[in-house]
Amino acid sequence: MKVKSWIALVFLGPNLLGFLAFTLLPIVASLVLAFYSWDLFSPPKFVGLQNFVDLIGWRINESGSLEAVNPRFWYYIYNTLFLMIGLPFAIFGSLFLACLLNRRLLGRNLFRLLYFIPSIVGGVGVYLLWKWIFQPDYGLINSVLWYLGLDGPRWLESTFWVKPALMLMNFWGSVGGMNVVLYLAALQNINPELYEAAEVDGAPPWLQFWKITWPMVSPTTFFILIMGIISGFQGGFDAAYVMTRGGPAGASTTLSYYIYETGFQFFYMGRASAASWLLFLMVMAFTWLNWKTGANRVHY
């Protein structure tokens, strides 16, 4: 091996060792564990595909109809997907804000700072604040609604409203922040001559947006969409842990919270690992689908 390779290895070594010990090894271990039953104390017992069957299997019940072995797991997948409905709104909101902040407005830098604040505020503090805002009897939102003569919903304690409440909070957190910064960078990279030419041709602002801005920021939109879907699948744990404990009646339990609960509350490490791998497969499938359907619509 050449000297340069040795030097590179010496410098890369610490990071590589850390990656092997703290990332690759746990990933491989979780894959192996997914085929075992293990409660942290007893020796692991090989159970084949049983953990996967317990999660996504189907069976014929006593009345002869087909039913899910674990219907709640499907419900938690539904919860996770439902919470991702907010993603397109957050993307369009970010783009709208970025377009506003890209104009020559008074106090533009101050607004840029204000919209970035949700990204740097600590998570738990924000969740506690929102928990208070959603309090149905003396919380901020319902108090305002009450003064307007409206009955506010019981937000976090209603199986119907808990998901919209969390979506509203997520929208607040994601509409500003990093997405706006990415869009601002993309907007500033658009050649102004394109807009000048469009104006000369008499194109109205909405047409300029649709024919110039939207295609030119499409790589950024695609990146934000992919990252949003990945974090949407992985998300929901911290809000559920701090605000609702997955309730009421499991209505805010997402896949990541289910994995935590199964592994670290009920100590089914094998089943939690199997659920993690199913989550990984879902993320991979959605990302692949995005690449297949979306990549050719992106203008590089």
């Binding site: 928990k131 199986t159 309730g247």
Partner: protein, 417 residues
């Protein structure tokens, strides 16, 4: 081949790493896992005393906030980290059921200076499994009903008394609940509880042998139907625990007339309540029985300890009368001889704190089994389905029974030691 000067650099790097590793503290002789801010000072003082009595022996205290204590402890034990003594509360079953704790009976029997009869026997019983004892308690936690005297006075109602019944409590809750003029918003919730505890009705979640779900009976259905009705009438403050910043907010704001409080809540209510308040024993249930949730705090020795004798000395230090006296402001001592001291430490409000001690013979702890957390989560899921009106109470109990019995059948009792 690597040039000679590079070998030198690598050797230097390794030497630095070795030196830096050596800079770390030497491992302690005993590692103590504990939790909670309220006992932190008392634990530190007891450990200091222990170290002074055992020269050359060091104890490392690992303090973990309450919410994550059991998860962190179990993960440490599973990872074979050194742990010798650990705090133990109602998560006892998780550890004892997995064979993680050491049987203290041989030590108790051979230690002439240790008198187990000084500790309340029912509470000691919570740490028993088979013929063994797997923990020594220092404190007891149980519930009482706290009530806002100003709200009772304003409604012209007499205060609750020691021998009141569940029916009287519900009737008082109904009278004390106040709505706004348009009846849309609650001004005062009569009962600041999510549910009326099934224990008040003399019911238990599981059968005494912990083999089956026990609430799907006529009495259980009657209890859940009544609770669901009270929730729909808004007499019970639905989800108060879930939505408030903390459980006590509504009561401390004067928006809740009565609520269950635990023994550890008393100092906080005492410090923060700006109105006149008192406590009363949990009401007597329909069958003439009285019961309330209870738990205990204590210390256990981990089975993998290499120094069981030293660990036993430390456990004694952390549970003896001196330790119990130090935390008497926050915790009811497990030694009955110290109960007077507990009462005198709480002069002023609440005037009838002795009501809390009256509950000690009626304590009903959580089932201390390895899969309790899973059982509880399953129960809460189906109970909430009924309380939220999504399915009828009878259906919820039926579903809970089927699912909980399945979980119990997977865990056929505690593991033999």
């Amino acid at each position: 081949m690597l040039p000679r000067h590079l070998w030198g650099h690598i050797a230097l790097l390794i030497a630095i790493v070795v030196i830096l590793t050596g800079c770390g503290k030497a491992p302690a002789d005993l590692v103590l896992l504990t939790t909670g801010n309220t006992t932190r000072t008392a634990v530190a003082a007891a450990v200091k005393e222990f170290e002074a009595e055992n020269p050359g022996i060091t104890v490392q205290i690992v303090n973990t906030p309450g919410k994550d204590y059991y998860v962190k402890s179990l993960t440490m034990l599973a990872g074979r980290a050194q742990v010798d003594v650990m705090w133990m509360g109602q998560g006892f079953g998780i550890f004892a059921g997995r064979g993680a704790l050491l049987d203290l009976m041989p030590m108790i029997e051979s230690d002439s200076g240790f008198d187990l009869s000084r500790y309340q026997s029912e509470v000691v019983g919570w740490y028993r499994q088979g013929q063994g004892i797997y923990g020594i308690p220092y404190g007891v936690e149980t519930l009482v009903i706290a009530y806002n005297k100003d709200l009772f006075d304003a409604a012209g109602m007499p205060y609750p008394h020691s021998d009141w019944t569940v029916e009287e409590m519900i009737a008082a809750g109904r009278k004390l609940t106040q709505f706004n003029k348009d009846h849309r918003r609650i001004k005062v919730a009569g009962l600041g509880m999510k549910e009326i505890d099934y224990r008040y009705f003399g019911l238990t979640l599981l059968t005494p042998d912990h083999q089956r779900f026990a609430l799907n009976t006529a009495e259980g259905r009657e209890w859940l139907e009544l609770t669901t009705q009270l929730v729909s009438e808004r007499i019970l403050q639905k989800g108060g625990e879930l939505e408030s910043l903390d459980r006590l907010t509504g009561f401390l704001n004067g928006q809740v007339a009565m609520m269950e409080i635990a023994s550890w809540d008393i100092p906080e209510v005492k410090n923060r309540a700006l109105f006149s308040w008192d406590v009363v024993a949990i009401p007597i249930g329909p069958g003439g029985k009285r019961a309330a949730w209870a738990s205990s705090s204590g210390y256990s020795i981990v089975r993998s300890t290499r120094k069981p004798d030293l660990a036993w000395q430390l456990v004694k230090k952390l549970t003896n009368a001196g330790f119990q006296k130090q935390i008497v402001q926050r915790t009811v001592p497990v030694s009955p001889s110290l109960h007077e001291e507990y009462l005198s430490a709480h002069q002023g409000s609440p005037r009838h704190l002795s009501e809390l001690l009256k509950m000690l013979p009626y304590m009903q702890p959580l089932e201390r089994i390895a899969c309790y957390q899973e059982i509880e989560a399953e129960w809460v899921y189906w109970r909430d389905q009924a309380l939220l009106g999504k399915i009828p109470p009878a259906k919820a109990l039926e579903q809970a029974e089927s699912h909980i019995n399945r979980i119990l059948s997977l865990h056929t009792g505690p593991r033999p030691q």
